[in-house]
């Protein structure tokens, strides 16, 4: 691991919504891997010369390490872990969140995440209503909360993820156990355990058609990913005005990797049942088989056009694909510059232009806040020393703007200089997988469906502070020996 140096970033235009800095020229002091108070005698001085200084980026939703996903490498539709990490670092990102694992696949995900360099990682855990449906049907909120806590505790996940807010059994004689989306959303909205919120809700088609009593209990992931309709922006903005948070997918038109779920699988795709009830499908091709005309979907642009300052929205990449991080920098560039964007996108945005302050909010501050990473996404004293500097100038040609946002001029990750003057320095920063500590009474739940159903014994589901399970051992002593 590289030695942490005392770094002074001089004269940068700093954008940080947490501090209210909208491009003010100021110095930043980094020491011991943290943003610190000013000090003398820095060991490294970075002359920013007015370049844009932001906190390291946080991608709140990127499907990185699902079982079977690596097979997409065979089709050239996915990069290897090294390339993924490098692409994130190039774009000035320091953290990526894998949306969900399951209780059984958590160890596999942790192993694969550990292979991605340069960025910290975290992940959510999928709620499996097949195991927890009894509590939902019986309106037993305390049991559900206890099991949800156990799920978080055992997997170390940052939060809960609900891929299917309904339960529909295909095996006919279990139909009586079906649960409607209405019931699920009402049930979850009434949970009193604040530590479980927000529950990330995957906005698949039809989800937003349901009434959601407590929008602030949820984080709507891939909010605009449903087929756009006239009602979508209105419905979505209503939820966001009510305090919900959301992420919007900014994928790349060249992105050959499509992710979906469902029972129907298109030929030639890779699909795998990992315990969600429906298969995860990876396919080669544009979004739903149609070439994209812009990085983000129509719904994303409409929502961004309408976004108020109080909206808790962030931008995410959703899939790494072959062109990792291709969509996010491009989306940011088009938001910042009317010249950079195509005509149709300008119409959808209503001519709106945002500044780097808003970009910092969408790609640093809000995603870090939504993931509970209180020491990231901002540049206040005590924050982790994750700083990205972009060579962005007012009036830059469009092509240069995209390049500048895809290849940061400088990146410091946890106080280690990873990129300097647009090139990697060869230093490798430490990377971690962020686990969340939450108390749970797992022992009393040992008999519940959630913990009994895996094919593995309960002790092999224990995180125990390491990524792999350890067997229980005990020593028997007899005859006083």
């Amino acid at each position: 691991m590289s030695q942490l140096k005392r770094i002074l970033i001089k004269d940068g235009s700093v954008f940080d919504p947490a501090q209210g800095w909208r491009g003010e020229r100021r110095d930043l002091y980094l020491s011991g891997g943290r943003v610190s108070e000013p000090f003398r005698d820095p060991e490294v001085v970075i002359e920013s010369g007015g370049r844009a200084v932001l906190a390291g980026g946080v991608d709140p939703h990127c499907h990185l390490v699902h079982p079977g996903q690596a097979l997409m490498r065979m089709f050239g539709a996915l990069c290897g872990p090294e390339e993924i990490g490098k692409a994130y670092a190039s774009a000035g990102y320091v953290h990526v969140h894998h949306p969900f694992v399951t209780l059984v696949t958590a160890a596999s995900a942790r192993r694969s995440l550990a292979l991605v360099p340069y960025v910290d990682k975290s992940y959510g855990v999928a709620l499996d209503l097949r195991d927890m449906g009894k509590a939902v049907r019986g309106n037993d909120r305390s049991q559900f909360a206890a099991e949800a806590r156990a799920l978080l505790h055992l997997t170390g996940a940052q939060g809960l993820f609900l891929p299917f807010p309904w339960l529909r059994h295909r095996q006919r004689h279990y139909i009586q156990k079906n649960i409607s989306p209405k019931k699920v959303l009402e049930f979850l909205s009434a949970l009193e355990d604040e530590e479980l919120k927000p529950v990330a809700l995957w906005c698949r088609p039809g989800v937003l058609d349901n009434e959601i009593p407590r929008p602030d209990f949820f984080h709507f992931t891939a909010l605009a990913d449903s087929p756009s309709s006239d009602g979508l922006p209105g419905r979505a903005s209503g939820l966001l005005e009510a305090g919900a948070s959301a992420d919007l997918v900014a994928a790349c038109e060249d992105d050959p990797l499509e992710l979906s779920t469902g029972q129907t699988v298109s030929p030639g795709s890779i699909s795998i049942d990992i315990g969600l009830g429906e298969a995860l499908c990876f396919a080669v091709g544009g979004w739903r088989g149609e070439p994209r005309s812009s990085p983000a979907g129509e719904g994303t642009w409409r929502l961004l056009a309408a976004a108020g300052e109080s909206w808790r929205i962030s931008l995410c990449s959703s899939t790494p694909g072959r062109v990792v991080m291709g969509g996010l920098p491009r989306t940011c560039a088009w938001l910042v510059s009317r010249e950079a964007r195509p005509q149709e996108v300008d119409e959808l945005l209503g001519g709106r232009v945002v500044d780097l302050y808003e970009i910092a909010r969408l790609t640093r501050f809000e995603p870090a806040r939504r993931l509970g990473l209180s020491d990231m996404g901002h540049l206040g004293v005590g924050a982790r020393a994750n700083v990205a500097i972009y060579d962005v100038r007012p009036g830059m040609p469009a092509g240069e703007l995209v390049t500048a946002l895809s290849h940061c001029w400088c990146l410091i990750k946890d106080g280690v200089l990873v990129r300097e003057k647009g090139e990697f320095t060869g230093e490798t920063p430490s990377v971690t997988i962020r686990f969340r500590e939450i108390e749970a009474d797992v022992a009393s739940l040992a008999g519940c469906d959630l913990l009994q159903n895996p094919t593995l014994r309960l002790e092999h589901l224990w995180r125990n502070g390491r990524w792999e399970a350890r067997a229980e051992r005990r020593r028997h002593e007899h005859d006083g020996v």
Binding site: M74, A107, G262, P454, E459
Partner: protein, 452 residues
């Protein structure tokens, strides 16, 4: 009163009776006794992971006394043979450090002098050994291939064309109502597969165990699994494609007048989730493609799901090999670093490869005959460096033999279950180990010599 009681009880199913008996007891019935308690041991370990095959059973117990395993629980014959071989004299003696050093040097000299080297058998190693072997193959500019290379290539060629539908074993256990073993015989290679995952375990939607499932199998010859199958096809591999076409055609016609054909067609029609386990080494390339195409068609329909799950008969850690191979060089079945290559899969079969390679570095991790791990015929006669825990017939063919520790018994090692989930197989606590070097230590030594 006994007679009416018997008549009454006879109307009850066995399961209901057992429940009632255990809850309420019965006049005159026996209560659970103390049973024989085994207490003649020093160390007991529970929930140990067995690396005997890719079932990766995690419910094994070892009892160790005086540094020896004296009793085990939940270990099948495949694993027991491996354990016996490891502990009961089927081992090469530990090399003294000087001799070990000389062996490593000699091995490196052979590989450097007869390049490119084929590094084979990493799919039988634990993860650390596998990673080391990859690094070594790359440093040597050699080939890095699994035991199941031919089958893996066949499988992934099919995946590239038709895609692939897979599942973790939990889902198979929970949902599969039709289980097929296509030239894969779990009772030969994965003894506890049927009881833990695919047939007898009671899952979420298979609460009656095997009663909720239909078992079908295709095999070349006699197999003990036949008696468990509702449909059993004994036929040559060359007939597979015909059977698949007959099963998937618009108007299924018997491929032959096979007695179980119609029954299988009906089972397919009424099933909602088909789990087809296949040994890609034993089917023809056309049949492999046919199976994957079949699955693609079923899954496109949306009403049912068909998962195709390879049951590799070669290395224990074949799933881990696939994962590592994908991560490191975007292929599922090995790498070719020769002639400045960046790691693409070599073309051809063992004969073609034998023509190209100059020497072989072979890793072994299981006793002879336990699984299909013998040096392919075309490679016999090449200079051979053998890294193995066991005495093997191929010792006679090897110029250098380096004995190592065995992961999952004498050292910790990460293995991947058949469905790709990683688990750590720990060393058995309390075991008297003889000081064998680990595979990764040997590889480090070889790498140092190669790069020197």
């Amino acid at each position: 009163m006994a007679l009416p009681l018997v008549r009454e009880q006879a109307a009850m199913s066995i399961q209901k009776f057992t429940r009632a008996f255990l809850e309420q007891g019965e006049p005159g019935a026996r209560k659970p006794g103390d049973g024989a308690v085994f207490d003649d041991y020093d160390v007991q370990s529970d929930s140990m992971v067995c690396a005997g095959c890719s079932c990766l059973c995690d419910d094994v117990s070892y009892y160790v006394k005086g540094g020896r395993v004296v009793r085990t629980l939940n270990l099948c014959e495949v694993a027991m043979k491996r354990l016996d071989s490891a502990l009961a004299g089927d081992r090469l003696p530990v090399l003294p450090s000087e001799e070990l050093r000389r062996s490593v040097e000699a091995g490196a000299r052979i590989m450097k002098g007869h390049s490119p080297t084929l590094v084979i058998g990493a799919d039988g190693l634990h993860e650390a050994g596998m990673v080391g072997s990859w690094e070594l193959a790359r440093a040597l500019g050699g080939l890095w291939l699994p035991w199941s290379f031919v089958g893996m290539k066949r499988f992934f060629d099919g995946v590239r064309r038709w895609g692939w539908a897979g599942a973790i074993l939990d889902e198979v256990r929970d949902r599969a109502d039709l289980v097929m073993f296509w030239r894969a015989d779990p009772l030969e290679t994965h003894h506890r597969h049927l009881s833990r995952y695919s047939l007898f375990a009671r899952g979420r939607y298979t609460e009656r165990g095997n009663s909720d499932r239909n078992l079908a199998a295709v095999a070349a010859g006699d197999t003990v699994m036949e008696r468990l199958c509702q449909q059993f096809f004994r036929m040559a591999p060359s007939e597979d494609l015909g059977l698949i076409q007959a099963l998937t055609g618009p108007n299924p016609a018997p491929a032959s007048a096979h007695r179980d054909f119609v029954s299988l067609v009906k089972a397919l029609e009424r099933s909602l989730y088909i789990a087809l386990f296949v040994d890609p080494e034993k089917v023809t390339a056309d049949a492999m493609q046919g199976i994957l195409e079949w699955a693609a068609a079923v899954n496109a329909g949306g009403h049912r799901r068909m998962a195709v799950l390879p049951l590799w008969g070669g290395g224990v850690n074949a799933s881990g090999f696939v994962q590592l191979s994908l991560e490191r060089n975007a292929s599922g079945c090995g790498a070719d670093f020769s002639e400045g290559g960046m790691g693409a899969v070599p073309e051809g079969d063992w004969e073609d490869i034998a023509i190209r390679v100059g020497s072989v570095l072979m890793f072994e991790s299981g006793p002879d005959g336990a699984q299909r791990r013998r040096l392919p015929g075309p490679l016999l006669g090449k200079p051979l460096v053998l890294v193995t825990p066991f005495k093997r017939p191929s010792l006679d063919q090897a110029q250098v033999v380096i004995p190592t520790a065995l992961a999952g018994i004498e050292q910790d090692g990460v293995f991947f279950r058949a469905d790709g989930l990683p688990l750590t197989a720990h060393a058995v606590p309390g075991l008297a180990c003889d000081g064998y070097p680990t595979v990764e230590e040997v590889i480090s030594g070889l790498l140092r010599e190669v790069l020197a």
